[in-house]
């Protein structure tokens, strides 16, 4: 590839503007909705409504800068740094587990703190794992069809990442990474039979992980019939459905959500989709769905048109990462999936998540500039 670029065979073109604007629109919508959804909480804890808006805008600015940088800094140029970045992210995942280094919030040790600015190593791991997979799978080529010599080393590496994140615990992120990785392995040529076997083998493990922890089991079961315990485990799902129902087709108008008044838990992160549904109605939820679909469509299209194996896997990986999170988050907010605690990419409040989403978009956009047209 470097050779081709040097020879001027592949010319750098414009990025995929549809992808570009889909991401930007989601970020813009996110800032507005984070402001609206966090207002109640912000006033209660900080006395003014702008606390979360300010922080989200700051991270968006940082993220957009990163996106523009990666959009123009070709993805091949940092390929030799990928392994170091991957090892570094694993070290950070270990570091966060050490009491004192990692901050404990809501019963989980997920944050590495620098003052009031917290950062989640697991979010970084999403990014580095995809880079790591794409880089190595591009070299492994056909050998991935072998289980022992091809697939197994990847599964071992992924198992370490998965296990470390699970220890925080952060099941949602762990499953996101695992899901994305499986898709990347599949695209890189792994045998479907192997992956299916892997899935079958991990199902009991996943079942055990869910059922062993009391709150996970209850959350999982509550999704099946939230009205069985409407004020307990079913509360979050019911309140989210109330928000979507209150919004109906047309919504209550921006700022006029009723459910964000302490009824809906985490209205600015996990359940921001419900707030969008309440304030903007089906227009809002439909638009969000359309934007994510557009992102997926253009992202996979970029992967298909990518100039080499490395960039193809990279594009498919990041597109899957974003799409998977969007599907799971929206599924949870509409009561279609059990509660997992996965945020809505680009939209939900949260610096690490927004930054990683925008960096992913930056890489994608960069690859789109080299599409075989």
């Amino acid at each position: 590839m470097r050779r081709k670029r040097a020879q001027g065979i592949v010319r750098r073109g414009d990025p995929d503007y549809i992808l570009f604007f889909a991401a930007l629109t989601l970020v813009a919508l996110g800032i507005i909705m984070v402001f609206s959804a966090s207002m109640v909480k912000s006033i209660r804890f900080y006395g003014h409504p702008y606390y979360y808006l300010f922080r989200q805008s700051l991270w968006a600015g940082l993220g957009l800068t990163g996106m523009f940088f990666l959009m123009n800094y070709d993805c091949w140029r940092y390929r030799n740094l990928i392994f170091i970045a991957y090892i570094l992210s694993l070290l950070l995942l270990i570091l966060v587990l050490i009491p004192g280094a990692g901050q404990m919030r809501d019963g989980a040790r997920r944050w590495l703190g620098i003052g009031s600015l917290g950062f989640q190593p697991a979010e970084l791991a999403k990014f580095t794992t995809i880079l790591f997979l794409a880089d190595n799978l591009a070299r492994t080529k056909e050998k991935i069809r072998e289980f022992i010599t091809g697939l197994a080393p990847y599964l071992a590496a992924l198992g370490i990442t998965f296990g470390l994140i699970l220890l925080e615990p952060d099941l949602g992120t762990a499953v996101t990474i695992a899901g994305t990785a499986v898709v990347v392995l599949y695209i890189s040529g792994a045998k479907l039979f192997h992956l299916a076997f892997l899935g079958a083998a991990s199902t009991p493990l996943l079942y055990y992980v869910i059922m062993s922890e009391d709150y996970r089991r209850q959350r999982f079961l509550a999704f099946l019939d939230p009205w069985k315990d409407p004020t307990g485990t079913g509360w979050q799902i019911i309140q989210a459905l109330y928000a979507l129902g209150t919004g109906g087709p047309f919504g209550t108008g921006v700022g006029y959500s009723r459910q964000k008044w302490s009824y809906l838990p985490q209205p600015d992160t996990d359940f921001i989709f419900a707030v969008i549904g309440e304030e903007l109605g089906f227009f809002g939820t439909g638009l969000v769905l359309l934007l994510f679909f557009t992102f997926a469509w253009r992202g996979y299209r970029t992967a298909m048109a990518a100039p080499d194996r490395y960039s193809c896997l990279l594009a498919a990986g990041f597109t899957t990462l974003i799409s998977l999170q969007a599907v799971v988050n929206i599924g949870v907010a509409t009561g279609s999936l059990p509660i997992t605690g996965i945020t809505l990419p680009f939209v939900s409040y949260g610096g690490s998540s927004l930054l990683v989403s925008l960096l992913s978009a930056g890489v994608l956009l960069n690859i789109s500039r080299y599409a075989n047209r």
Partner: protein, 694 residues
């Protein structure tokens, strides 16, 4: 880039697209189809109700005098989540309300949306708390029941609970009419219980309760209670009752029961004082039952008024010997004389001639075996030996009112049938139901149930009963100038199914005028000490009540008074236009007493009217009314002299004033004086003392 990879990316895209389609379907379902139900549920969850109690209807006497009404008072509630500083709030409130700090703390820190702190607060205390403007503390209006006449008609009126639900008496019987429907104020709150910005609010106005106009005449009731009270005290009796009924339609004009209670503070009295004994308790009627024995005999044709009966002082019925109250016997008597003498032996013979079958038929027709249907709760029916088990001795003893038990109301109703020409009427207490503006919504009229005896039989019995008063055992019931009919009664009390020796019920039942009865009256004195014969204990009470009531009803005397009683009489002075309190003093000087009715200070009319000759110690009722109109925002201070604390407070609240009381008991002085004008919301200072005679 391999073909395989490209193909697989395409498949992944397809899978992701499928997920989005499923999510889209789910969103459409939730936001279009399910939305209305979810939105409504969500709104119901966020809306919080604050109840608004309706105003309970007023109970008026037949002439529009208030017997029970409700006033608006403030009730204090809390929404615990809104309280900023529970301990400080509890401290402040405990000071003002006089409640324990710990009690308040436990209420204020409860994890509920709504809690009462204290209900039905006096105005001044409510205002004090309102001025503090404490967060999480609010007021709602509730109504408090007031019975302005105290113990007058108390058992019949009944009481209400804290939620204004009728618990006894008419308050219970007509609860659905009086209570109205609760309204509410709703407001949208957040999950912490605080009102949200742009919240939705709702108001459902309460439907006010309807008013009752009862058949009771306050004046007749007052006369009955006065005479009953006096006799119960004089004879040191356990209690007693008086029922006055209009025989033509069954309207109860008075129903006085002793021992009494004050519904405004009913918890200070024994609960049995609240029983409406006139319908809930049955007694052996004794001789007051004899008119029914006589009626059965005449109507069935077994006996004619010209038949004679011999009394030798005793008589053999099977193995038992029955005695007459006159040991030497009454000798040969006509039918009328048997009644006049109240001769037991004569009545046994009358009943024997009638026979068990006819006797029972008339007991049933006269309503002795079933409730009268009076519109009061808890009515009992009589206790009679079943016909199939009745032996000759039962018939004999029943003929003079022993072994069987009936309620006083059953006696009155049966006597009314004799008085009105043979018709069984339904005794009742409610005449009309009216709405807020005084429009009559419903007129309660009761048709006679059946004719029991012919008008001719009734006529003959009236003649017989008139002789009881003019020449027989009931002479003490006589009222000069009027033709009265009646029957004495003295019966042994039955306690737990056994005759209680030495415990008697003295009664007198009768009506007047004998030729055209307008009023049936029953007097029962329960366990008088000393003299116990009905003719001696109950008949004078009957006479005293009849005398005043007949005059009050303006029923003209039928004949010149035969003899003026030996008691001293006085002429009632003209008191109209005078100050009520001064009028009372004037009456006291000439040996009469005055009772003020109404809120005014000046007498506008009086009863009896001036010039009437009345016995000493008679009460003159002084009617007062407001004749001046107070200025804007000004109210006239009513007189609370002589009233208890609760009544005084209620009366002042009604006038828009509050009370600052010193001492306990009855009001002896007030400042400002009654009749003066003060701004609405002012406080009247009053001193209360225990030893003021009422």
């Amino acid at each position: 880039m391999g073909v395989l990879a490209r193909k697989r990316v395409g498949r992944v895209l397809g899978l992701v697209a499928a997920c989005f389609v499923l999510l889209l379907a789910r969103i459409i379902y939730v936001q279009f189809i399910w939305a209305e139900e979810l939105g409504q549920q969500a709104l119901d969850m966020r809306m919080q109700d604050i109840p608004i109690q309706p105003r309970r209807g007023v109970i008026y006497d037949r002439n529009g005098h208030e017997l029970a009404f409700s006033i608006d008072v403030e009730s204090l509630y809390t929404i615990p989540a809104q309280i900023k500083d529970p301990s400080e709030t509890a401290r402040v409130l405990s000071e003002i309300l006089g409640m324990k700090y710990d009690t308040l703390m436990s209420i204020l820190t409860r994890h509920t949306a709504f809690e009462w702190i204290k209900r039905k607060l006096p105005d001044d205390i409510a205002r004090q708390i309102k001025e503090l403007n404490l967060p999480g503390i609010g007021f709602t209006q509730e109504s408090m029941r007031v019975w302005p006449k105290g113990s007058l008609l108390a058992q019949v009126l009944g009481i209400v609970g804290i939620d204004n639900n009728g618990l006894e008496g008419l308050e219970y019987e007509y609860d659905t009419v009086l209570s109205g429907t609760q309204g509410k104020f709703t407001v949208e709150v957040d999950a912490i219980g605080q009102e949200m910005p742009h919240s939705q609010k709702g108001y459902v106005p309460p439907v006010q309760g309807k008013n009752l106009v009862v058949t009771i005449d306050e004046v007749i009731q007052f006369i009955a209670e006065r005479e009953l009270e006096a006799k119960v005290k004089e004879t040191n009796a356990e209690g007693g009752l008086i029922i006055a009924m209009n025989p033509s339609n069954g309207e109860i004009l008075a129903l006085a029961i002793r021992p009494e209670y004050d519904p405004n503070k009913y918890d200070e009295y024994p609960t049995e004082n609240r029983r409406i004994r006139a319908i809930t308790d049955s007694f052996p009627p004794g001789s007051t039952f004899k008119p029914i024995t006589a009626a059965a005999a005449l109507e069935s044709g077994a006996v004619s008024p010209s038949d004679t009966f011999y009394c030798g002082g005793s008589m053999q019925v099977g193995p038992d010997t029955l005695y007459c109250h006159r040991q030497e016997g009454h000798g040969s008597q006509t039918f009328y004389e048997v009644i006049q003498n109240s001769c037991n032996i004569g009545f046994v013979q009358i009943a024997q001639r009638t026979g068990i079958e006819h006797f029972y038929k008339y007991i049933e027709l006269f309503g002795m075996t079933s409730p009268t249907g009076a519109d009061l709760p808890g009515e009992a029916s009589g206790i009679v030996v079943p016909q199939e088990r009745a032996k000759p001795i039962d018939l004999a003893v029943m003929s003079y009112g022993q072994t069987l038990q009936v309620t006083p109301m059953q006696i009155v109703t049966s006597l009314a049938a004799i008085a009105n020409g043979g018709y069984m009427v339904v005794p009742h207490l409610v005449k009309e139901v009216t709405d807020n503006s005084g429009n009559v919504i419903e007129v309660k009229s009761y048709e006679p149930v059946r004719q029991v005896i012919s008008s001719r039989t009734a006529e003959e019995l009236r003649i017989a009963l008139e002789k009881v008063v003019s020449d027989g055992t009931g002479k003490a019931a006589y009222v000069p100038g009027y033709r009265l009919a009646g029957k004495t009664g003295t019966s042994n009390k039955v306690i737990d199914g056994k005759i209680a020796e030495g415990k008697y019920i003295s009664s007198f039942a009768g009506f007047a005028p004998a030729n055209d009865p307008k009023l049936v009256l029953l007097v029962m004195i329960d366990e008088p000490k000393g003299e116990y014969y009905g003719g001696i204990v109950a008949a004078p009470v009957f006479s005293a009540v009849m005398r005043d009531v007949l005059r009050y009803l303006e029923i003209p005397p039928q004949e010149e008074p035969v003899d003026e009683t030996e008691q001293e009489t006085v002429i009632v002075p003209d008191l109209v236009g005078k100050d009520a309190v001064a009028a009372q003093a004037e009456l006291r000087e000439i040996g009469l007493s005055g009772k003020i009715d109404g809120n005014g200070t000046t007498v506008v009319s009086q009863f009896p009217v001036s010039g009437a000759r009345v016995l000493k110690d008679t009460s003159v009722i002084l009617y007062t009314e407001d004749e001046e109109q107070p200025g804007e925002g000004m109210v006239r201070v009513p007189s609370i002299i002589g009233l208890g604390l609760t009544q005084a407070r209620a009366k002042l609240l009604d006038a828009g004033l509050s009370l600052s009381a010193q001492g306990k008991g009855f009001c002896v002085s007030q400042e400002p004086q009654a009749g003066s004008f003060v701004p609405k919301g002012s406080t009247v200072k009053a001193t209360f003392r225990m030893d003021v005679g009422q």
